[in-house]
């Protein structure tokens, strides 16, 4: 004979399986926080490069129209910082999510991870190619804002396959990116806000909501 508890258990099981099988839920808030910190560090180093090469504004954009030898060096340095920042952010985000999936005993590399990755990578790779072409043709002005816009689109798309809240992070990135498109000379500031501050806020909120209880 079935009891009320059994029925409730069954319903909870059903809900859990539906969620587990359709969304990648191991994404850790710490991943967001660590990626944000990496971005802020990257922005700080970038600012250092710009300050050293004698720029008065906080942006690569205003001076790169006159592509001299010195500014090429500057761009190379900024690109290097950008790549390192991206790599560090990705690695740290991966580590925290890996730890969380271990804790929850959910295999990290499964169906949902594949789906999430594909749906994030499509806008990211397309965006990356667009930005690459922009740099080849000298439109450095738009690189920062476009990376925010494409990243925002990737997140909105990804929200169907992981924690739904990531959608709002996506919207915020999109808004920042679009505002930045019409601003000149604040590229690095917007970049630091979008990739640094927003990630930290998002990560903290997600940790507060989903991980705080388990981690005490």
């Amino acid at each position: 004979m079935r009891s009320k508890e059994e029925s409730l258990d069954a319903l909870q099981d059903i809900r859990k399986m539906m969620e587990r099988s359709s969304r990648f839920i191991s994404l850790s808030g710490w991943s967001g926080i660590s990626a944000g910190i990496c971005a802020l560090l990257g922005a700080w180093f970038g600012y250092g490069v710009l300050a050293r090469t004698g720029g008065e504004s906080v942006s690569a954009s205003s001076r790169t129209s006159q592509v001299g030898l010195s500014s090429m060096g500057e761009i190379q340095q900024l690109l290097l910082i950008g790549r390192l920042t991206f790599a560090a952010a990705a690695v740290s985000a991966f580590i925290f999510t890996y730890i969380r999936s271990k804790k929850n005993a959910i295999p990290m590399w499964g169906l949902t991870a594949k789906r999430l990755l594909i749906n994030t990578m499509v806008p990211m790779i397309v965006g990356g190619l667009v930005i690459l072409r922009m740099m080849q043709t000298g439109y450095y002005d738009l690189v920062g804002s476009c990376s925010l816009v494409f990243y925002g689109l990737a997140l909105v798309n990804a929200s169907k396959y992981t924690l739904n809240e990531i959608r709002y992070l996506g919207y915020a990135e999109l808004a920042l990116g679009l505002i930045d498109l019409w601003q000149r000379g604040y590229g690095l500031l917007f970049w630091a806000l979008g990739f640094g501050v927003l990630h930290i806020i998002y990560g903290t909120m997600m940790w507060w909501k989903y991980e705080r209880v388990q981690s005490k």
Partner: protein
């Protein structure tokens, strides 16, 4: 008064079969290995539950190949969807009736 247990389907008494149906309801199609990982089962155990569901006409099996390896995918049938939803309603009634 109607017995609330009437709506509960015997096939779904097993937690594993219930799990399979839950996964298939939100995923158009899923292959054997992914299902095995999700439910954390052994090959034999999962296979026997899957064939039980198939015999009842609740799931469809499609055998294919990826390269030379077999890739068997499963999807839910119309009948399976209905049976599962009825079962859910049955569970709901069950909970409501014992307040």
């Amino acid at each position: 008064m109607k017995n609330p247990i009437d709506n509960l389907n015997k096939v779904f008494d097993s937690r594993i079969r219930l799990g399979v149906m839950s996964v298939l309801l939100v995923n158009e199609e899923i292959n054997f290995n992914d299902l095995k990982d999700l439910l954390q089962l052994t090959d034999g155990n999962l296979a026997s539950h899957l064939s039980h569901l198939e015999e009842n006409g609740f799931i469809k099996v499609r055998k294919g190949f990826i390269g030379r390896k077999t890739n068997t995918t499963y999807s839910i049938t119309k009948a399976g969807e209905k049976a599962f939803k009825d079962h859910l309603a049955g569970l709901e009634n069950m909970i409501k009736s014992i307040k």
